[in-house]
């Protein structure tokens, strides 16, 4: 059968591919962020994560942020606060 040429409807992403940052070897003395996405039970999940981390490590500081709306990005102030962190745990989904 003869061939036909068609064009892809897919776009190229404007974001350069990024690798995940390496996890710190341990969290002793580190700054850990807990970002709540304002979904029910995010607070429960993050509290459990904080408790587990506190058992295993002597963390330097905990930075907590609670987005005002799930669908929006953290506020500029929240982003500035979280940028100090060595690790941020982000509660996602429902």
């Amino acid at each position: 059968m003869a061939l036909i040429e068609i064009f892809s409807p897919r776009a190229e992403s404007s974001i350069a591919a990024q690798a995940l940052s390496p996890l710190p070897a341990d969290l002793n003395g580190k700054v850990v962020g807990l970002l709540n996405n304002d979904k029910p039970n995010a607070e429960v999940l993050l509290a459990a994560a904080e408790a587990a981390i506190a058992q295993a490590f002597n963390v330097g500081e905990i930075v907590r942020a609670w987005k005002p709306r799930t669908g929006a990005a953290p506020t500029p102030q929240q982003m500035a606060d979280l940028s100090r962190c060595d690790l941020v745990i982000n509660a996602l989904g429902d």
Binding site: M1, I4, E5, I6, P9, R10, A11, S14, P40, G71
Partner: protein, 347 residues
């Protein structure tokens, strides 16, 4: 546009409608329905529907941050079955989707069934034969069917809203295949939607809304506007409706011409109808679950005087969206809405 050099990736495939569709379907580029093969002659013809250069980028569409070039819009428009003269509408609609206030990211990556709804105002409705009357939200008119479909394909292929992967909708909704209609300005007793936002009546616009679903509001007998608005407000008061559970924005009421006439003849302007709907909306706190009352409503202060209204806050009384559309019949539509953006249609 006399000479167009297409830049998109090309595929060679057996020259059959079935083979082209199988390839695009396997790549996840379709909505599950057959598409028009995006060949060079069709894409070039589509690009002749706009003066914008094919390599112009309107911006990045969330969440993939895909580059929304005029060429890519044209390819998806071909697949959807659009006519070239629809391109200015699609370009304006994509510009609306990319506006930060619209927050396409939220619409694309959520468990909600939310999808885009396009509403056209101004002369473009007649120029493109957009259905504003009977069955305007249903099948039958090419412009309505393909404009909405093209925007969905664009959100999929440029924005990356892949069902099940990025688009985590629990159920989705049928309107995510296509949802586009024109306002029935000619049979409306009120100013058109776009005029509320500062556009001239004879200016053509497209408004894009993020909608979560709709419901028929039947009223065969009520002849007083205040009574009808009170009844409609009760539809809005559904405890589990999105605009109640997440009361950041108010929903939309699409009045049939008949219902709009009853409300207007009772003395309500559009603004007064909005305020009346707002006053008579409001779900008593006790109707919510305990988790909702204490975990969300109290935390964020959504209740006032013991009720939760859509869009609490000083702008609340103005926040309901009102349109007039449809044909003969005692049916209006409740549409659950969150974000919106409106753009003029150029060329």
């Amino acid at each position: 546009m006399t000479d167009v050099a297409l830049r998109s990736e090309r595929f060679s495939v057996d020259d059959s409608f079935e083979a082209v569709n199988q390839l695009l379907y396997d790549q996840g580029c379709t909505d599950g329905l057959p598409v028009v093969p995006p060949t060079e002659p069709r894409i070039v013809a589509m690009l002749h529907g706009t003066r914008r250069p094919s390599d112009e980028t309107l911006g990045a569409l969330d969440p993939l941050k895909g580059e929304a070039t005029v060429e890519k819009i044209a390819i998806n428009a071909v697949m959807a079955g659009c006519l070239p003269e629809y391109m200015p509408v699609l370009i304006a609609a994509v510009e609306a989707l990319i506006e930060p206030e619209f927050n396409a990211y939220t619409m694309q990556a959520t468990t909600s069934p939310v999808g885009p709804m396009l509403v056209l105002n101004g002369p473009i409705r007649h120029q493109l034969d957009v259905n504003c009357g009977a069955s305007c939200m249903g099948p039958g008119r090419r412009a309505n069917a393909t404009l909405g479909r093209a925007i969905r394909l664009i959100l999929l292929n440029i924005g990356g809203g892949i069902p099940g992967l990025i688009d985590k909708a629990t159920h989705g909704q049928p309107a995510k295949y296509t949802f586009c209609f024109g306002e029935n300005e000619e049979e409306s007793p009120w100013e058109p939607f776009h005029v509320e936002y500062g556009f001239a009546p004879d200016q053509s616009t497209v408004a894009v809304f993020a909608v979560h679903g709709d419901a028929d509001m039947l009223d065969i007998v009520t002849q007083r506007g205040d009574a009808m608005l009170r009844c409609f407000a009760q539809t809005v008061n559904g405890v589990s409706l999105h605009n109640t559970q997440r009361p950041f924005e108010a929903p939309m009421i699409v009045f049939s011409p008949e219902h709009a006439g009853i409300v207007a003849r009772s003395g309500f302007s559009k603004a007064e109808a909005k305020g009346y709907l707002y006053e008579h909306s409001g779900v008593p706190l006790a109707h919510f679950s305990e988790e909702m009352q204490h975990g969300r409503i109290e935390r964020w202060g959504w209740a006032k005087d013991g009720v939760v209204r859509p869009a609490p806050g000083p702008e609340g009384p103005k926040s309901f969206r009102i349109l007039v559309a449809g044909g003969v019949g005692p049916h209006s539509e409740y549409i659950s809405c969150t974000s919106q953006a409106i753009r003029p249609i150029g060329d």
